[in-house]
Symmetry: C2
Subunit: 287 residues, 2 copies
């Protein structure tokens, strides 16, 4: 199994964010790739890294960037097998390709193959990374422990490699990672199967400290903006119950059932007993 | 074996070159990576591609770019295993990572391990790609068959995958690809081994049509600017003779002995019976 991801300055990150750190940037480059591998149920083996560097970037910055890459790779058992440095007149552009192996005889996890009636589960908690991004984009240094944890969730997500193996061993076959908002990730699982989904607002595992962030309700952050690199999966209810118990026992991480797949197309949110029809980036009252 | 390479607009190519074609650009992205694999003696298996695209780039352009990538990958037996598209506010930035396998039980070709007295060989002919680049940078469309062949050498080099396997089977162990000027490639082989090299100007396999290009003698293009993605190798004379015969028989490609490795450090050029001491980008008369 293999995956590649590119991070482009001023699209995926900004050097002028308060507290910007090249080492964290390097770690995040590896994380987003390792998370992709986790979503396939693969174990990372080695990585290739290609950096397009603006000429004004100092050696010090490049060293820290590379240290972050190497650190995160090593932490997750991944060898840096090679790389390429280019100059660029444009933004700092970082690419990593990561290769992993599946346990012998096992098939990769994919977003395909979900069935109507299956439950949708997510690991950990959602919304913090989006709240962190709002803080960083506002140019404000995080001032409270909660704010610091949101920024950390944005800059230093954890690839759920171990959790993915536990889900897989519990029989889960349909999974992905959440980098694009929960709504969009649910859609990626439901649509190709010709299904819809119902999500339960009260069950969303929203980070407790979130409340309201810049006037946006936490459940909206979790639903539309979540990029916490948690895992999403779909399976029959009992299988998710088993997986949740195994996950909690080995890692302390929660697996929360946040909805179910439906024969009816479209994605609806059940909130305070009302059904809202969700669309990209928003919702409408259900007819 | 794996390799990664990035091409950055306005560093590695320009869209305003006369006759610029996204399909050729896509093919070249694959070629420079396939050439790296060839230099290791590996056979390509699959590739990952990551494109950072300026927003103004048309779908038509992206389609052609991707068609070129897919075409060249397929031509050399390489499956596109995945990819990533990013937006960028900067230059078009293309990265490919390519994975290959070595024949069972064989070790990779490397630039390390050369010995004093060994001959230095190069495949094909050198200098055309550099001449092509000068034409393109001058903004002039190629007007003669020779000029067209130079531009083709720059834009559409051929990865020497088959040639590398033939060299390897003939017992060659020290090799690389020429993307950075012959001088620099010889240095990469000689220096780590604590050796020097002597190059024979009259033996350089310079493309016959070159003569003088923009006032630069052909042998200088071949020596300092060659980026023809030919192979360089080092081995005992007899082994190179055998390899050359095998190469010519299977592919018609020449393997020319252009010099030898010496115990004395430094790289010298023997030309018209005189010895010139070479340096980066130039030379000085030998003391």
């Amino acid at each position: 199994m293999a995956t590649v991801d590119t991070m482009v300055e001023d699209i995926d990150f900004r050097r002028r964010w308060p507290g910007f750190d090249f080492r964290k940037l390097g770690r995040r480059l590896m994380t987003i790739n390792l998370s992709d591998l986790a979503a396939m149920g693969a174990t990372p083996r080695y990585a290739l890294v290609s950096l397009a560097l603006p000429r004004a970037l100092s050696t010090w910055a490049i060293d820290r960037l590379y240290a972050g890459i190497a650190q995160q790779a090593q932490r997750f058992g991944c060898a840096i097998a090679g790389g390429d440095l280019s100059a660029t007149r444009g933004p700092l552009t970082l690419t990593a390709a990561v290769f992993g192996e599946l346990p012998k005889g096992s098939r990769p996890l994919t977003r395909r193959g979900a069935r109507a009636g299956w439950r949708i589960g997510v690991t950990g908690r959602l919304g913090s990374a989006a709240a962190g991004l709002k803080l960083l984009e506002g140019g404000r240094r995080p001032a409270t422990p909660a704010e610091r944890s949101w920024v950390r969730a944005q800059l230093e997500p954890v690839p759920r490699l171990e959790a993915a193996q536990i889900l897989r061993r519990a029989g889960v076959r349909v999974a992905g990672d959440i980098s694009d908002g929960l709504y969009r990730e649910v859609e990626k699982i439901a649509e190709p199967a010709g299904l819809g989904a119902e999500l339960w607002a009260d069950e969303l595992p929203i980070e407790a400290s979130l409340g309201r962030c810049h006037g946006v309700a936490a459940w909206r952050l979790a639903l539309f903006d979540s990029e916490d690199y948690e895992l999403i999966c779909a399976a029959p209810r009992r299988q998710l119950d088993t997986a949740a118990a195994a996950l909690r026992a080995s890692t302390g991480l929660r697996l929360t059932q946040v909805g179910r797949l439906t024969r009816e197309p479209g994605i609806t949110l059940v909130r305070n007993g009302r059904r809202l029809r969700l669309r990209h980036g928003g919702f409408e009252h259900f007819r």
